[in-house]
Amino acid sequence: MGAEHSNLSLTELNTKTILKTTSVAEPELGHFSTSLVVYQTVYELLGSHFSSEVARILGNDLPLYDEINRTQLSPNEILSTIKENLGMMFDELQKYERIIFVGIESIIIDNFVAALPEATFYLISHSDMVNKERLLANFSTNVSLASVRDITILGGPNSILFSYIFCQTQEQTALVYPITIRAIGVDVRQLYSQVIGLNILPPYKRYLHKMSEISSTDQFFTKQYQVI
């Protein structure tokens, strides 16, 4: 795959341009989903070997890309793994009327929205830079944006809350979107029947830009699911 492009010169790879592009996408797609898009593009264009080369060049600035590359899975394998892992939850989720996401990861939310058309989804963005109209144009009318202030109003026995956990270590330290820390306090946990952490790319421990470190995931989430 991508053999016809293998003569492309990676020494001239313009990291600045790529990072600018990803910075446009991260508020609306999420950091993991954006890195996955980059990985998929590079993989399809240059093949797995060059994808690792790109990871070496971009690794420091785009650590999630590097982590995705380390899985040694092809983009299609990653996508089907995510679908499979998320699919195991959907039966149980049928009983909930409201599903709230703290932070946006488009690859995950798209799967949820497709599988649970009867539910109403509320997205609390992890960034102020989100283009609301563009973001919502990708979903049907059962998806809307909410703010952190709405999180208590949206709670109740028929509501379930999701957020993301990145690079969780065996010591339970992990990285989360800063909005997760702001949004999920003790009071909020009591309002929701479940607060689920979607675990992405454990167990690597590395610093992710724009993320906050937490010492224990248990203080935020009642349950965790491994996404990839």
Binding site: H5, L8, L10, E12, L13, N14, K16, T17, I18, K20, T21, T22, V24, A25, E28, L29, S33, T34, V37, V38, Q40, T41, V42, L45, L46, V54, S106, D110, N131, E133, R134, A137, N138, F139
Partner: protein, 440 residues
């Protein structure tokens, strides 16, 4: 005497509103109030005669087409078109310029300029954000978008205010305007586009690598991954447009005026999409512009009632003996006044004078009026501030926080546009003048 005073009030009002554009509504209201007071007290006109000369049908058409534009925007077709254009470009900045300006040209011919820009610019800005850009490229790209918007608006009788005024007042038939103006505007657009290609190659060429542009395109695809066209709204809108188009073309033969056609088309569409329609009427119709134009029409009506416009036209015909020179002066005057006072005020003021000149000189009305509309288009393209498209584009670029590859905030201001504006003005104005003089 009152005519001279009224013309002074008009010029002063237009000048002050151009300088203090933040207060233009207050200024135009004051101008209209002073004009009406002078006409009634000094000029012995009646309010009834002043109102009678206001082309209300033009305002009705503007409101109707504004609603139609907003409804069509909600169909999602144009977002899909814009995203499709970015995919077809395969990351080539030159193709992006060509495709977006072409879409803008055709879109502006059907929708009002404001809606056309609001639909396309956010997608274009996202594309440039993802693919990378430079200050020079931004200047070329958005200048071209603005002139495409102006030319597209002038190419049809429903695209922009000057042409709507001509059609609405019955000065020129729908089909006649379309047949004369569209080919010239398309030709002008193609000439300007062709001239832009070598300029791009020499001055603003972007060198983005294959990997970077592929990532940019993939990200764009994801940002707009599930765009959907509301087919029922789109088809209903297209059907309405076809019916309106037919009635605009043949309606005059059975006594249906263009404003009635607009009501006949928009009414059922609003009934069908009443929820969207309610939102559009409350939030999207540009009543500010409608009020501005209403005040302007009242001022022009006062002037026309005083007989001053007639006097100016006769004087021009008497002093300038050569018909070619007379028309030339009229067109250049329209172009320059548009660049200073913008299209609405300029066209509203110059049209009655042009009509008198046509009457006095026995010139072919259709040709001269299209020439005047093209002169307005030329003037609109000279300065960034001369038409709606300029300040709106500038504002949208600033708000979008678009940055260049060097990390600088993108800038698109009066000076960045001026060099392009000058070229566009000269090209459009010259072609318009030659076209009219050739057909006299």
């Amino acid at each position: 005497m009152d005519g001279v005073l009224l013309i002074c009030v008009m010029i002063l009002t237009l000048a002050v509103q151009a300088i203090f554009s933040q207060r233009k509504m207050v200024i135009i209201f004051i101008g209209a109030t002073v004009s009406v007071t002078l006409s009634v007290t000094v000029g012995h006109q009646t309010m009834k005669s002043i109102y009678a000369n206001v082309p209300w049908e033009v305002l009705a058409i503007l409101i109707g087409l504004g609603i139609f534009s907003s409804l069509m925007a909600k169909s999602g077709l144009f977002d899909v078109l814009a995203v499709l254009a970015s995919r077809v470009s395969r990351g080539s900045h030159l193709l992006i310029i060509i495709m977006f300006s072409s879409i803008m040209f055709f879109l502006s011919g059907i929708l009002n300029n404001l809606t056309a820009l609001l639909l396309l610019l956010p997608v274009l800005i996202s594309i440039l954000n993802c693919l990378g850009t430079s200050q020079k490229f931004i200047a070329l790209c958005f200048s071209l978008i603005i002139v495409a918007c102006n030319l597209g608006g002038a190419s049809t009788p429903i695209g922009d205010f000057p042409a709507i005024l001509l059609m609405g007042t019955g000065s020129i038939a729908f089909v006649k305007y379309l047949f004369i103006a569209f080919p010239i505007c398309l030709l002008l657009f193609l000439v300007i586009l062709l001239l832009s290609v070598p300029y791009y190659q020499m001055k603003t060429k972007m060198n983005i690598g294959k990997v970077e542009s592929s990532i940019g395109l993939s990200v764009l695809r994801e940002l707009y991954r599930n765009l959907r066209i509301k087919k029922s709204l789109l088809f209903a809108g297209l059907l309405t447009f076809l019916i309106m188009f037919s009635l605009w073309t043949f309606g005059s033969k059975i006594g249906i005026s263009p404003d009635i056609v607009c009501f006949l088309g928009i009414g059922p569409l609003l009934l069908l999409y009443n929820s969207e329609g309610e939102d559009i009427i409350k939030n999207k119709v540009d009543f500010e512009t409608i009020l501005f134009l209403a005040c302007l029409f009242i001022m022009v009506s006062c002037m026309a009632g005083s007989g001053i416009l007639n006097f100016i036209a006769i004087s021009m015909s008497n002093y300038i003996r050569s018909p070619q020179m007379l028309i030339f002066m009229l067109m250049i005057g329209t172009g320059i006044s548009t660049s200073i006072f913008s299209a609405g005020p300029s066209m509203a003021t110059m049209l009655p004078i042009a009509q008198q000149v046509i009457l006095q000189g026995g010139f072919p009305a259709d040709v001269v009026l299209v020439g005047i509309a093209l002169s307005v288009c030329a003037g609109s393209s000279l300065f960034l501030t001369a038409a709606t498209a300029g300040p709106l584009s500038q504002n949208m670029i600033e708000k979008s926080k678009l940055t260049t590859q060097d990390g600088e905030m993108a800038k698109f201001d009066l000076m960045a546009y001026l060099r392009f504006g000058l070229v566009y003005f000269v090209i459009i104005q010259l072609v318009a003048v030659f076209f009219v003089l050739f057909n006299l």
